[in-house]
Point group: C2
Chain length 450, copies 2
C-alpha cells in the first residue's frame, strides 16, 4: 500500500495541483510527442487500407499512359464524320479492331474506322470515338466491312488524352495520410505493389485500483470489473495503434512501478487508468508527484527499473490537473522520453481524456499532420443546464436535419459515469468554462468521435 499521508500537510501537497487549460495541456502533449514518429514498414497494397502513409506517393507515369477510348465504339478521324447525320450517315471502312490491352497495327487513314473497346489505346491518326449505339454495321463490295456513323462528332470526343488526369512526378499523397480505398486505387495505378506505412505504435495499457477484478471474474462485495483496459484497447486499435494489455493492478507502488518499467521497455506510449485523484491510495497521483519535485532533485518515489528517471531532463511532468469536466485529475508526464498518460478511472472521464490527449499523441507518432480532434459547429437539441467553472465535455448524439443543419443531442450529461452514453456518443459538446450551460438551439463546438 502507498504510505498514507495523514494530517493537513499531507493533504495540502496532494491538493497542490494547478489546473491547466485543455488547450495548454494539448499543446504540452503535442510538444512532448513531436519528433517521436514511429518507424515505417512495407505492406502489400491490398493491406494498406486504414494505415498511415510513411512515404510520398507520386505518379510514376502520365495518366492515362496513352490516349484511351472512353467507351465501346469506333475510333475515327473527326473530319470524316463532321457532317454525318441519320439521313446522311458517314460510311467508313473498318480496317481493324483494337481491344483493350492491344495496340493498333497501323495509323488510321482518312475514310476508315477502327472498332475499339473501352480502355483501349486510340490508334494514331484517330481523334474521336463514336459510341457503338450510334453506329450500324454495313458490308462493302468484295465483302469488306464498313460502319455507318449517324451523328456528327467533334475531335476529342470520348477520348481521354495521355496525361489528362496525372502528370508523371505529380504528388498524389503525402506522409501521414490515412490510406483510403481511393488512395489504394491510385497506388495500384502507379505500380506501388508495396506501400511504406507507419508501424503501429505500441500502447501499453494498465488499470490501477484494488477494487478491480478481471473481466472474467465473478463480482465480489465492493469490487467491480476492470472495463477501462478493454475500452482503451479498443480506442487504441481505432487510432491505428496496437494495445499491450498489462492488466489491472492493486494500489501498490511496487506493483505499479514494475508495470511501468515493463510498459516502458515494450511500448511507445503508456496509458494508465485510475488512481489519479486525491484519495489516500491514488498510486498514480503519488507517482506523478515524483516528477513535480523538480528535475535534478532526488524524489521520494523510487522507480526501481527507471532509476533516477525524474533526474533526467527527459523525464518531466506535463500536467497533473486539467481545467475540465469530466476528468480534471487527468495527468501526463514524460518518463525518460516516453509519454505517460494517467487517465481517470471513471469510464466517462477516461474516454474524454483519451480523445483529448492520447489519440492526438498517437496521431503524432503516426506522422499525422492534423493531430488534434476535429471540431465542428452544431446546434444544441437539448439544453445543458449545468454551470461549470471549467470546460465541460458532454457526450452527444449528432443529427443532420432535413435542412442540412447539424445538431447535437446531449446524452445524460449530468453523470459522467453513465457508461451507456459512451457507446452512443458521436461527439463531445464543448461547454466553455464560465458559462451557465447552453440553451436549446445555441451554436456549440463539438468534437467528432470516431
Amino acid at each position: 500500500m502507498v504510505k498514507k499521508h495523514s494530517g493537513m500537510n499531507g493533504q495540502g501537497s496532494r491538493f497542490n495541483r494547478r489546473a491547466v487549460r485543455v488547450e495548454e495541456a494539448q499543446r504540452r502533449v503535442l510538444e512532448a510527442a513531436a519528433g517521436q514518429v514511429v518507424g515505417s514498414e512495407l505492406v502489400a497494397l491490398h493491406e494498406s487500407g486504414g494505415r498511415r502513409l510513411a512515404q510520398t506517393v507520386t505518379a510514376s507515369s502520365d495518366w492515362p499512359p496513352f490516349a484511351r477510348s472512353g467507351l465501346d465504339g469506333y475510333a475515327v478521324r473527326a473530319a470524316d464524320i463532321a457532317e454525318a447525320s441519320p439521313e446522311k450517315p458517314a460510311e467508313l471502312r473498318v480496317v481493324y479492331e483494337v481491344a483493350a490491352g492491344q495496340v493498333a497495327p497501323a495509323a488510321l487513314q482518312a475514310g476508315t474506322a477502327a472498332r475499339i473497346m473501352t480502355g483501349a489505346a486510340v490508334p494514331e491518326g484517330a481523334d474521336a470515338v463514336v459510341m457503338l449505339e450510334q453506329t450500324a454495321e454495313a458490308m462493302l463490295a468484295y465483302g469488306s466491312r464498313a460502319v455507318l456513323i449517324k451523328r456528327a462528332g467533334a475531335a476529342g470526343q470520348h477520348i481521354a488524352p495521355c496525361g489528362e488526369e496525372f502528370r508523371r512526378g505529380g504528388v498524389l499523397a503525402v506522409p501521414g495520410t490515412l490510406v483510403r480505398p481511393g488512395h489504394v486505387a491510385l497506388l495500384g495505378t502507379f505500380g506501388y505493389a508495396e506501400v511504406a506505412v507507419r508501424k503501429r505504435p505500441r500502447i501499453a495499457v494498465f488499470a490501477t485500483g484494488s477494487e478491480l477484478l478481471a473481466v472474467a471474474a465473478q463480482l465480489a462485495p465492493g469490487r467491480v470489473r476492470d472495463s477501462n483496459s478493454s475500452m482503451v484497447a479498443a480506442m487504441v486499435h481505432q487510432s491505428g495503434a496496437e494495445p499491450l494489455l498489462l492488466g489491472a493492478l492493486p494500489d501498490e507502488l511496487a506493483a505499479v512501478e514494475a508495470a511501468l518499467a515493463e510498459a516502458w521497455e515494450s511500448s511507445d506510449i503508456i496509458v494508465t487508468t485510475g488512481g489519479v485523484s486525491v484519495g489516500d491510495y491514488d498510486v498514480m497521483a503519488e507517482l506523478i508527484r515524483a516528477f513535480k519535485d523538480g528535475s535534478g532533485v532526488r524524489t521520494k518515489v523510487q522507480l526501481s527499473s527507471l532509476q533516477s528517471a525524474a533526474e533526467r531532463p527527459a523525464s518531466r511532468l506535463l500536467f497533473d490537473k486539467v481545467a475540465m469536466r469530466p476528468g480534471s485529475p487527468t495527468s501526463a508526464a514524460v518518463i525518460d522520453g516516453k509519454l505517460l498518460f494517467a487517465l481517470s478511472g471513471n469510464p466517462g472521464a477516461c474516454f474524454v481524456g483519451f480523445e483529448l490527449f492520447v489519440r492526438p499523441a498517437i496521431h503524432l507518432l503516426l506522422g499525422v499532420r492534423e493531430a488534434l480532434p476535429t471540431v465542428v459547429r452544431a446546434r444544441l437539441l437539448t439544453a445543458v443546464e449545468k454551470p461549470s467553472p471549467h470546460d465541460r465535455f458532454v457526450r452527444a448524439r449528432l443529427v443532420i436535419g432535413e435542412n442540412g443543419m447539424l445538431s447535437a443531442d446531449p446524452l445524460a450529461f449530468a453523470k459522467s459515469s453513465m457508461m451507456a452514453s459512451i457507446a452512443e456518443a458521436e461527439g463531445l459538446v464543448i461547454i466553455p468554462a464560465g458559462s451557465k450551460g447552453a440553451e436549446v438551439g445555441e451554436a456549440v463546438d463539438v468534437i467528432l468521435i470516431p
Copy 2:
C-alpha cells in the same frame, strides 16, 4: 477469347438490357442476401472493437452493484450534517475507512463518519458522502480521530445508488451492433470476457480485362495496371469483411469461369470488376446474359464447374443495368445461392457500385439492421451543371460551416474516371434522374462514405 458476335443480331441481344432504378436494384440485392447472415465466433473482449455483435448483450447484475461513493471524502449520516456550516462545523468521530474494493466492517452509527475513497462501497447506515476538500481532520480526547464537516449536506449526495445505471437483465446492445469502445466498456463491466461476433464474410474479388497488368508489372503499350482489385479489397476490409484476391484475368470465358468456380467454393460473395459493358470482349456481361435466358432453360454459356447453375432456381439475374451514372452496366446475379456483383471496370463507377450494392450486401451478411448507406441533406457549394436522364452520384467533399450547416463540394464530377477524387470523397451527392443538375445552395441528398 469470347466468341465475337458480329452483325446486328449479336449487338441487339447485347443491348437488350433493361435498366432498373437504383432503389429497385438495392431492393433486389437485399432480398437476395436476406437470411444469409454468416456464422459467429467468440473473440476476446479487447479484440471485439469494430466487429458486429452476434449476441444480445444484457446487464448481468444491477449497476452499480452496490451504493458507490462518487468521490474521495467521508461517508456520513446526512442527519448529522444537516446544520453544518464553516462557523459551526459538525464534528464526527472517524470510526474506520473504506478503500475502493473493501467493505465496511460495520454499519455507520449516528455521530460518526468513515473515510471513503472514490468507487468504494458506502457503508450501511451512511447516506451521504462529503468531499474531502470540504473537511478538516481533528483530534478528539484520548487520541481518537475526528473530522470537521464545514458544509451542510443532503441525503444521497455523491452516492450512486445500487442499480442506478442498469438493472440486471436490461438489454445493452442487440445483434448486428457495431462494437464501439463504449460497448467494450459495457461488456467488460458485465463480465463478457469473450464476445460472440459475426465472422468476417469472405469476399472473393477478381478483375477482368486483357489490358490489365499486375500492380507490380512495368507498364506496356496499351496496358494498364489492375488497381480495382486492391481498391475493392480495401473497401471490403472497411466493411468488416475479408477479401480473397484472385487476381486479374484476361477476357477469356474459360479463365473467368474457373475463377468464378474457385470464388464460389471459397467465399460468401463474389465481386468482379470490368467486362460488364457492351464491348465485344466483355466477358462478365456474356456470363451474366446466361442467367437471363430463363431458369430451366439450357444456356449457351457453360459454367464448367457450376454446371447448370442457371437451371436452378437458386441462380438468377438480379439486374444487368442500373439507371445511374456512373456505373450503368453494374450487374448482379445469384449463382447457386451466392451473390455475384459484376462492377464496372471504371474505378469511379466501381467505387459507386460498391457503396450502393456490395457494402449493403456485406452488412446484411453481418446482421446489420440498417444495411443501406446513410443519406443526409446538404447544400451544394458548387453547381453540378450536367443534366442526366438517370440518377447521378457525384463524389464530393463535405464541409460543416461556421453556422453548423452541412455543405457538399462536388469533385471533378464531369469525369467519372477521375481517380484522385475517389480518395478525397466523403460523400456521394445524388442528382436525381430528370433534373438539369443542381444549383449552388440547393439542398441535395448525400450518401456518406466511410
